[in-house]
Assembly symmetry: C2
Homo-oligomer: 343 residues x 2
Amino acid sequence: MTENLPHDKRPVCILGLGLIGGSLMRDLATAGRAVYGWNRSAETVEVAAGDGFDVTSDLPEVLRRAEADDALVVLGVPMPALGFLLDAIAEHAPSVFFTDVTSVKAEVHALVEEHGLSGRFVGGHPMAGTADSGWSATMTGLFKGAVWVVTYDNAVELDGDPSSAEYMAAERWLDAWSRVVAMARHTGADVVVARARKHDSAVARISHLPHVLAETLAVAGDNGGPLALTLAASSFRDGTRVAGTSPDLVRAMCENNREALVTALDESIALLQQARDGLARESADLKSLAEEGFAARGRFEARAGRNKGDLTNRPVMRVQPGAKGWLEQLRSAEYMGAQISVF
Amino acid sequence: MTENLPHDKRPVCILGLGLIGGSLMRDLATAGRAVYGWNRSAETVEVAAGDGFDVTSDLPEVLRRAEADDALVVLGVPMPALGFLLDAIAEHAPSVFFTDVTSVKAEVHALVEEHGLSGRFVGGHPMAGTADSGWSATMTGLFKGAVWVVTYDNAVELDGDPSSAEYMAAERWLDAWSRVVAMARHTGADVVVARARKHDSAVARISHLPHVLAETLAVAGDNGGPLALTLAASSFRDGTRVAGTSPDLVRAMCENNREALVTALDESIALLQQARDGLARESADLKSLAEEGFAARGRFEARAGRNKGDLTNRPVMRVQPGAKGWLEQLRSAEYMGAQISVF
């Protein structure tokens, strides 16, 4: 894929240096990008500075610097801390563009809207992580080959008078959008576009629902006592793996995406109830679930490979930010789950 | 563990040379045991004979041979073929003892009872397998480190007059039970004891339920369309892995264990409904499922290790077949999911 990534000399300013923010800082530095950051904890700042990074625990200072050098600001903190950072951006960096890395998007878009900052925001969600957190868990290459979702809820097509305020504001937003895509690409991630609600509905199904089902399986297995745990083998092991995730983390993910997860749970309960009733009636109703589940897994494998690390087989679509018809392109890419390439 | 495995010069006769029966034949031959077998397909017999095994497609002949040399007979066929083999045993091998390798036990015990053969039967279930089947998939070492469940529904304690017919019949059954345990141990499997219904309840929870939940997750994810499949990562991959199992195989497993699986499904649906309602009400009801699921996964890891291939940490109990108190020992071992060691 030959992409026209903007040759962006402007820096990236990362607020929050946990697993995602810190690993992003390492990747951007490795790629030769200008990058600096902030963390609330002086201890983290000390360790990151010791590792050679340009970091501070002074938020107003770092935001004034970002404002002065037109940095792209990355919100690298969990949901509950976002409001605090948005307030600080409004106060200390009144014209910067910013993105985030949290795992749900509709609530973030709503929060940004509440702060009156929508025109300067592009949502992001790098779908990578490990079981560990904090600066000590950061690494280069965390995002390589992962999907980095970039939202386009605020996207427009360039139209009208190029000297109008609207046109120039749109141009600036499109520039910021391209900078977010380029930043993600510099980490080796593949960029997929989705509007906030489409993103949240998809991750409810493929990321949050797996946690709830894993926990359900773990409890139902454990209800069988020590004998069941002794007999448990690989189907139980794989099916319960993510039940080993910290309950607080699971709740934070799921409870920030209630509406979409409730829909996915309702579908799941209906499928299970139908299977259960089919079994109890000694009819053939497990047939449809077994066959549909097999077909669905087949479609996943066709796209993502059979085993972890297999080559993926996703469509790639080229988009031209702001060009006539590009919103239609984005909606097609979103529908197809395509990677995008900017030209 | 020093075990007194009976130094059994008597042969094993395996009926059905698919993945399980054929791999068992390879292991027993490797262990220096006398072993011969039967398969319905002349083609399989030809290939197995070419591999150096003592096999035939003549069922009456092989059963007369087993009767003559007091072989332990292993029923290595799927459920639907069991009745046919039980008829043949009743006709051609009226005094042999036999075991099976099918994945549910209550239905097999009932079928054996219907044939009036309970006094000569010990149920078995080696919990090993691969995605492939048939003689071409057989291998040595398939059962190494796996759990091999042996039932004890028909077990008695030796008591009363040693010259009585009852005492001698009990002695013969206990000898057969020990032979089944020794055969399993010769493959490198760990033996766990369970009555048929306890076994079926446990495998419904840890083997059949994981398939139904994996299929449900696969369908609910796929309902999100291509975007969802593109965003799906390791939690979805692991959670849907066994949805790649042939639907016919899943139905055969699940539909032979209806009652126990319905119970496990009812528990699962109730847990999911509670989580769903908690989310919809914006109460903290996901808390209990997340915490209980995490604790349950922890108990599984404590017993079975965190990753596939980790050392297991199961209790081991020594039992003495037929001794006073041994039924109590078996029930304790069953409750604890302990491996047993015969002395």
